[in-house]
């Protein structure tokens, strides 16, 4: 290489060259990573059935702009399948919109990441799920899920999402949390090669055959784009699994088999009384919301009546004690359906998830509680 060719090249030229490259890199990489991946994460191309995991930030931004009294439901698949926000909104005497941003498999440890943005979206009430299977420490087997959720959630965050929850993250999980723009870009980049592959597939092959699941708006797991007219409705009433996946589709033999195996699993839950990772996260979530003038309704979703028969005496006292403790916090209302009567076989998909009929029952029971809280607001 003949280096003499550049004799007229000065230090100023060098500085200009490097500055242009650095600035353009930061601008290009973050916008291109988002441009390539975001919409494919939504339509389940990149995440399969997990596309809903990516909606939280956009959902809360939409809620912050709705100019209405808002009620936000958070929690796991139990809350997700129990809460038809459209139904509850319609049953309220108050003019309010009820949103369902619950995520399958989620718990307080993953939900706490959204507290700053929930506060910024300015809701009146937040529904927080507490269930017997979600009071404890994070198990090793859950770490793969935690990694996915933490990465997906934090890659879509910005600096306003940071809060005290950062201090509550287990040091072993810290590497899955993006706290700055570079770390966010790094997480997002992991999806770029797959996103390009997907786009090339669509370009070269027949999109319709490849994208059947992605374009079926009635398909469970499908998520609309934020600029779609379906978006706002989806935030209240997401697409629920069809009934045939639950008890209704099973033969009597299958149901017996189910009861003997999966139903009895409910008897394995031993919720902690206090001081678990879930309790620490819940304490942070509830206290932060209350400090910001947001009322909290703690929801304990119902279980199939048969499921409760597998419990030993006092097995779920950890849940009872936790709910009783929070009930004493000013601004907290308990909506405990675990021990409530009237829940029947027809209301359930399986041992702890409500189906269409169950959602209506849940809606009818929840609406008056929300009304009462809203009516009693300052």
């Amino acid at each position: 290489m003949n280096v003499k060719e550049g004799l007229r090249f000065t230090g100023g030229d060098l500085f200009t060259s490097v500055s242009i490259a650095a600035v353009l890199f930061f601008l290009l990489s973050s916008s291109m990573a988002s441009g390539l991946t975001d919409s494919l994460m939504r339509d389940s191309s990149l995440l399969g059935g997990g596309s809903r995991y990516t909606i939280t930030q956009d959902a809360l931004s939409t809620i912050s702009e709705d100019n209405m009294i808002s009620v936000i439901g958070t929690g796991s698949s139990q809350m997700f399948k129990a809460l038809d926000g459209g139904c509850v909104s319609g049953n309220l005497e108050n003019e309010a919109l009820v949103y369902n941003i619950a995520q399958p498999s989620s718990g307080s440890y993953t939900n706490m990441l959204h507290i700053p943005r929930i506060i910024n979206s300015n809701p009146e009430v937040v529904l927080i799920e507490i269930a017997p299977n979600s009071l404890g420490n994070i198990s090793k087997s859950a770490e793969e899920y935690i990694e996915l959720r933490f990465k997906l959630d934090t890659m879509n965050q910005d600096s306003t999402d940071l809060g005290e929850w950062v201090e509550l993250i287990d040091p072993n999980h810290r590497e899955w949390i993006a706290l700055n723009e570079i770390e966010r870009m790094k997480f997002k980049q992991e999806y770029v090669p797959s996103a390009i592959e997907e786009r090339l597939n669509r370009l070269i092959f027949d999109e319709k055959t490849l994208g059947e699941i992605r374009t079926d708006t009635q398909k469970y797991g499908w998520v609309p784009e934020t600029d779609s007219e379906l978006w706002n409705g989806y935030l209240q009433t997401p697409i629920f699994p069809p009934d045939r996946y639950g008890f209704d589709g099973k033969t009597s033999e299958e149901r017996e088999n189910y009861n003997a195996t999966l139903m009895s699993k409910t008897g394995n839950y031993k919720p902690a009384y206090r001081d678990s990772q879930s309790h620490t996260s819940l304490n942070y979530e509830i206290s932060t919301l209350l400090e910001n003038g947001i009322r909290v309704i703690i929801v304990s979703p119902p279980h199939h009546p048969s499921a409760l028969t597998y419990l030993e005496d006092g097995q779920w006292d950890g849940l009872n004690e936790t709910l009783a403790r929070y009930a004493e916090w000013p601004g907290v209302t308990i909506f405990d359906q675990t021990w409530e009567t009237g829940w029947e076989d027809d209301h359930f998909y399986d041992r702890n998830h409500l189906d269409d009929e169950g959602r209506i029952e849940f809606c009818n029971r929840l609406a008056p509680v929300i009304d009462e809280v809203l009516s009693g607001r300052d």
């Binding site: 280096v3 550049g6 353009l24 890199f25 990489s29 980049q189 090339l200």
Partner: protein
Amino acid sequence: MSYVFFWLASGWHVLLLLTSTLVDWTTGKKIHSSSNDKYRKRWLIGSLTVNLGLLATFKYLDFLIETWNLASLRFDGAPELDTFGLLLPVGISFYTFQTMSYTIDIYRKKHAPYERFIDFACYAAFFPQLVAGPIVRSQHFLEQITKPLSSTPYQFRLGLTLIIYGLAKKLIIADNVALHADTIFVEGAALNNIGLVWWGSLCFGIQIYCDFSAYTDIALGSAYLIGIELPENFKTPYAARSPQDFWRRWHISLSSWLRDYLYIPLGGSRGGSRVLVISLMGTMLLGGLWHGASWNFVLWGFMHGILLLCHRRLIKLSQIKKIFTIAPRTSVFIGWLVTQYFIFMTWLVFRVEDTSMMLRSLKTFVGYDAHWDIHEFYESLPDVKLMTMGLVLFFIIAHGFSGKLGGFKIWLSKQNSVAWGLICSLLITATFLLRPAETVEFIYFRF
């Protein structure tokens, strides 16, 4: 600084580097100061013994023991030996050849020894190229190291260009095609689909070139940052039109080292056909073995030796000369095609370690007992297929044009600040976005 870098990377193996450095420093002085040929020769042999002894011990001893144990299975009563489990010291093949060339050149009275030990130590252990070359000749380095180290703004930007370009080549192309090669040549693979074996060899050929030349670019770039110019190691090798042409373009610093210190001393092409065969095959076999302690590399060198001999014989045939006169363009194209076919075939020997799999892949590559099934081909590839195919296509086109235009990196380094900044930002962005989740270690770190 280089020694600290090496110590951090390899721990106590720095002592081996230090030994080579001290031995060749002393030997160079002794040889130069004496006019007694016997005395000079004795010192040279001493130096070669130490250098090759260290190389043989740390790189080949366990390999020889394993080979002995394998052979002993055929003879009753032959003792089985334990291997030493020696770790290969980083860069030993490179710095050994480098310091040896220094001593041999002094012995040949090509140049005088370095005046200052610090300069020689720096030459032996210069950190940008210590681990995987290029193998630098002492005179080339001395001319630069004796001047104060400083780079001009242009040199600095040229260095950055090479580093950015090298990273892009490694992370975008080498690491992505590596996923395909690794999937195709996974242990136990049937390797009887001709499409898969061809694609696998193409991917590996591209991987090894982009991986190795990327390291060289980064080494050259890092050296430019402090004002040192290192020699080029590659000149679009896949544009080669003959096996001889390939070795003028591939790992140039090694091939020229082997030519100067092995092939020519063995007799080269000036001693008749028998000497030619011996010197050429000897050079290629040892060149193959230099890459690693494995019979695969010996076979790889052997195949290249055969290719070179066949080429020498073919170009002397009057019918071939006639064809080149009648249809020069077509002949050149066919020459390129045939050369590359065999080059990529030899990559199978380099890549597929298991002997039965390697033989199976070679059979399939030439179409013997092979089948073609596009569905199986497509399904056998990793999830990211089309993007990698696009990268391969891009590489082939860019490689062809790069040879014609004198190289993208050179063109880029001459652009004005805005164009350079824009193109480099695109390169860095592409590198950042397109790299696969798992990066692969530089292949030549193993050698």
